[in-house]
């Protein structure tokens, strides 16, 4: 039974092996099915994807806005974070701040935020991506923004991989959630400024992203470590559900430069009162974690 289908994360079925087990060793069939099921559950937690915070930061920069340090979580807070949940969420928050600083080519700030992230990663005994050798590399390439971005996103992807491979997938989910929350917070601050139509649109589109994130949380079967963040995300979803997203049929065409172009003309409309309520709510939730 080669089959498929999964959402938010992934669903797996395995099969060619089963067929052989069935015909040659019927008694092995139950074992194989149990093992497949264990593998399916494990893989569901590994395969998951939402856009990186750097994409939100990039939009802010592209709209011509300036860097505002006061919007970020101060690096001085790093020593306050105790307990795996708060540390993991703030590791994600610092990651988003680091992406934002890197996009705006803030060399010193990028180094400072990376050092704060490294401190948290060390406190959590995470040995992946964010380490001394990456800091050295970052210092070496700090004059090249593209290289800095590559190092930063690569370090967080590797950290994510390390956590998933070492059965700390819940921690990985919290890091990703922290990053998403911070990126949303940053966009919400800029949405209050003039000419922020595209930022507002991007905020509205988070309805889709959050839907994926919450479906991912479902694969953890109410793990206590994720309970608080899940409740917070559900609160945010209540507000985001007020966003209206319209879309047509997906079309595929070739642009003049030969690149395949995909789109369905989607448009997210966020009303002023929804935006305000969302801003208040995200500020409240974020301050609980960064305090």
């Amino acid at each position: 039974m080669v089959g498929l289908v999964g959402f938010a994360a992934v669903q797996f079925t395995s099969c060619s092996g089963c067929q052989q087990a069935k015909t040659e060793q019927p008694s092995m069939d139950a074992k194989k099915d149990s093992m497949d099921q264990a593998r399916v559950e494990q893989l569901k937690k590994i395969f998951f994807n939402i856009p990186s915070p750097v994409e939100m930061a990039s939009l802010i920069k592209d709209q011509g806005y300036t860097y505002e340090k006061k919007m970020l979580n101060a690096v001085e807070n790093v020593d306050k974070y105790m307990g795996e949940v708060q540390q993991a969420v703030n590791l994600g928050i610092y990651g988003a701040d680091l992406s934002y600083a890197s996009i705006f080519d803030q060399k010193q700030e990028s180094m400072t935020y990376f050092a704060a992230a490294k401190k948290l990663a060390s406190a959590m005994a995470i040995d992946g991506g964010i380490n001394d050798s990456t800091i050295t590399k970052l210092a070496e390439y700090q004059d090249n923004r593209d290289s800095v971005l590559k190092i930063v996103t690569g370090a967080y992807a590797d950290l994510n991989g390390y956590l998933k491979e070492n059965n700390r997938i819940e921690v990985s989910a919290l890091v990703i959630s922290g990053g998403w929350l911070e990126a949303l917070h940053l966009c919400l601050q800029y949405a209050e400024k003039p000419n922020s139509d595209l930022i507002r649109q991007r905020i509205g589109e988070q309805k889709m992203v959050l839907e994926s994130l919450l479906k991912y949380y479902e694969s953890f079967n109410n793990k206590p470590a994720l309970a608080e963040m899940k409740a917070d995300l559900l609160e945010i979803q209540k507000e985001l559900n007020k966003v209206e997203i319209t879309a047509g049929k997906t079309t595929v065409s070739k642009a003049k430069d030969g690149v395949m172009t995909i789109g369905n003309g989607s448009k997210a409309t966020v009303k002023d009162d929804t935006l305000k309520a969302l801003n208040v709510l995200v500020k409240k939730i974020r301050s609980k974690y960064v305090a």
Binding site: S14, S16, M35
Partner: protein, 140 residues
């Protein structure tokens, strides 16, 4: 029953150990294909067996250029992948592509797309397993 539990435990150990090799595979063999693109920070690599099929839901933002790289370890047959919209409308398949592992595209509007990955069944007597990685990057 004890044997079954032991088998599952052993399988879990083997899976974790082998999955650890997927990180190295991703770093050394997959990521070089993302040159010129900013890597997405999510990690999607795991052990697949022949015949395995997986689906990953991804959100892509409008106005951006993306690269999707899907690769399987050479121990496995060439991986097949498709990109579909959420209504299961097929938008891309690597079956007819010259580069079987890389798909470059532009999003004119923000949309969720499904990436369906399949390791073909070679119908051999041995079931092979190896790492399969899916990574996305965007142009900054």
């Amino acid at each position: 029953m004890k044997k079954l539990i032991a088998s599952i435990f052993l399988f879990a150990l083997v899976t974790v150990g082998a999955n650890a090799q997927c990180r190295a595979f991703t770093k050394n063999r997959v990521l070089p294909n993302l040159i010129g693109f900013v890597q997405n920070e999510n990690y999607n690599a795991a052990l697949f067996m022949e015949g395995d099929e997986a689906e990953l839901l991804m959100t892509f933002y409008g106005g951006k250029d993306y690269r999707l790289v899907v690769m399987a370890h050479p121990v496995l047959p060439e991986v097949e992948f498709e990109v579909l919209d959420t209504n299961d409308e097929l938008l891309y398949t690597n079956k007819t592509a010259s580069n079987k592992n890389v798909f470059d595209f532009r999003m004119s509007s923000t949309q969720q797309l499904k990436v369906r990955v399949r390791v073909p069944d070679s119908k051999g007597t041995m079931v092979r397993q190896g790492c399969v990685t899916v990574v996305a990057g965007h142009k900054s």
